[in-house]
């Protein structure tokens, strides 16, 4: 079958395009292995800004108090007032004063990953 000159050009261009797409794929090195869903779920404890990624909660204030006393109070103080670890409570209204106190309460944005991690290990763990 005879091809017109124009058709030949288009065909050549098409092959070139395919080749360049393959070239892009070749910049992959094929190193490593796929991460499994189970691995991702176990390691990814990130909480997004809206808290939508938080796990379903359970527990109670009483249970929380026990966990705080066991896991947190030694460094952060019995009432979260701080010790060898940072102060966790109070400080509202201090951010524009000479002694600003940054805490979960005083900083609006401070929903932290740190809290999620402790929650996973302690408050949300059965028993």
């Amino acid at each position: 079958m005879r091809m017109s000159r124009r058709a030949k050009l288009v065909a050549v261009a098409g092959v070139a395009l395919l080749a360049s797409a393959a070239g892009a794929a070749e910049t992959r090195y094929g190193i490593g292995r796929p991460a499994t869903n189970a691995e991702i779920a176990a390691w990814n404890l990130d909480v997004d800004r809206d808290g939508k990624a938080l796990p379903a909660g359970s527990g109670s204030v009483e249970r929380g108090r026990v966990v705080f006393n066991e896991q947190c109070a030694a460094c952060h103080g019995e009432k979260g007032e701080g010790g060898i670890g940072d102060r966790l409570v109070g400080g509202q209204g201090t951010l524009n004063t000479p002694k600003p106190i940054k805490t979960v309460g005083s900083l609006r944005l401070c929903r932290t990953r740190h809290v999620r991690r402790l929650a996973d290990h302690s408050i949300f763990s059965p028993g």
């Binding site: 190193i31 490593g32 991702i40 390691w43 944005l109 932290t112």
Partner: protein, 430 residues
């Protein structure tokens, strides 16, 4: 004990061992004469090794070749060590400083790198360490350290600086190290983060990469994707050898020019996201309080800065010739110029810059100076390739107040007394 034939070489070895014993003995006794007859020759201390005498260390062979499998500095340099604060409440989330004023050039020796950890230094077995890439990617990836090392490698020299170096209320330290010792510079070898992200394949909507460390703090920072696709690296070596545990062994993030804590050490996870993660380290910490009660967030860049290291606080200079030398750096690129004032900011001279002048690396500057013996104040001022000029502390504090905490890149003035003693010109008003 088995009998060995006494060969000539054996004799030499024995002699050698004996000498070493004698040398270490005399060191242990602080150079005092060891009074055993016949051993006097090696322990004639304290010997005068200055001219016209021939020094003792030329009279006997020195230590055996290879006597230190991993070399250490001379014992006479034992005071050149990290600047470790005393009496901190705890040392797991703390910082220790590089003794900048004791170092030359632009490369920080690995053993003297500054340290800032948030949950201590993990002892990671590289065979069990993994780097996972997931989120908005086509192919979530699990990489071993060896896998990472198979990607095309690159080596670049960059500084690292803690963002609170020093805080706005801690400008009264004595030495250069007390003031800006949370600063080090090394040659980093690793792979382009871009290559790893490309391997996983970015999905539409990817804008941030959240990096997490495998330390007890699981330190987590969000890095804008543009930086990840630009000059960010995943690093496994510093100054030619594998990363030190304090620097993130076996893998760390390097985001040149960005505040220290974003260069996530012991990195184990890269989560590609549409939004930053708003971790503790980008909300309650590493946000910069303004006088009106608001805070600046995601203040990544370490802006142009410089400091005179010699002469600097606690030094004492002589009248006459003195070389002024120090370092300058900018998170935005290369240092273009360093100005030095020897008259408390009234006039400025241009310092000589030592090549190489590298992007986002320390640049060494020098200026020959004749001190006339009159009390004065000296200081340096960096200008980077964007034209940005390092500010005075007063100008910075006027805008930011003194509770800004992070990103203090102000000039550091040194007071020189008539005696030649050098002290911090910032004096706390009490």
């Amino acid at each position: 004990m088995g009998k060995k034939p006494t060969t000539p070489s054996n004799k030499i070895a024995n002699l050698h061992t004996r000498r070493r014993f004698l040398q270490s003995g005399s060191a242990a006794f602080g150079g005092a004469a060891v009074v055993t007859a016949g051993l006097a020759q090696a322990s004639d201390a304290p010997a005068d090794n200055t001219p016209p005498n021939v020094p003792q260390w030329m009279k006997t062979p020195g230590a055996d070749t290879g006597s230190q499998p991993y070399g250490l500095p001379s014992r006479f340099e034992k005071n050149v060590i990290r600047n470790i604060p005393k009496n901190l409440k705890q040392y797991t989330s703390a910082a220790v400083r590089t003794p900048l004023q004791d170092l030359d050039g632009i490369i920080t020796p690995n053993g003297l790198f500054y340290e800032r950890h948030h949950g201590g230094v993990p002892d990671i077995d590289p065979a069990q360490h993994r780097l996972m890439i997931h989120g908005l990617v086509e192919r979530p990836l699990m990489l071993t350290v060896d896998d990472v090392r198979r990607f095309p490698s690159q080596s670049r020299i960059h500084f690292l600086e803690c963002s609170g170096n020093p805080t706005y209320t801690a400008i009264y330290g004595k030495t250069a190290s007390d003031l800006v010792g949370l600063l080090s510079c090394g040659e980093w070898t690793g792979v382009a983060l871009k290559d790893l992200l490309n391997e996983a394949g970015l999905k539409r909507g990817a804008k941030w990469v959240v990096a997490e460390g495998a330390d007890a703090a699981a330190l987590t920072r969000s890095i804008p994707l543009e930086k990840c696709l630009d000059d960010a690296m995943i690093v496994y070596s510093q100054n030619g050898e594998r990363l030190r545990p304090q620097q993130g062994y076996p893998l760390r993030v390097l985001v040149p020019g960005f505040e220290g804590n974003m260069n996530v050490k012991w990195v184990r996870r890269l989560h590609v996201t549409a939004e930053p993660i708003y971790s503790r380290e980008e909300t309650s910490k590493y946000t910069d309080s303004m006088p009106d009660g608001t805070a600046r967030q995601f203040t990544f860049y370490m802006e142009a800065k410089s400091i005179i290291l010699r002469p600097s606080g606690t030094h004492k200079i002589e009248k006459g010739y003195n070389e002024i030398t120090g370092v300058a750096w900018s998170g935005h690129g290369k240092i273009k110029r360093v100005d030095i004032s020897v008259d408390d900011g009234k006039s400025w001279k241009t310092a000589n810059l030592q090549e190489p002048i590298l992007t986002r690396a320390l640049t060494r500057f020098r200026l020959p100076w004749h001190w006339d013996g009159q009390p004065t104040v000296i200081m340096s001022r960096a200008v980077d390739e964007t034209g940005y000029v390092q500010p005075s502390f007063e100008d910075l504090a006027k805008i930011r107040g003194v509770n800004h905490f992070y990103h203090n890149n102000a000039m550091q003035p040194w007071q020189i007394a008539a005696t030649g003693e050098v002290t911090n010109a910032h004096v706390k008003k009490s």
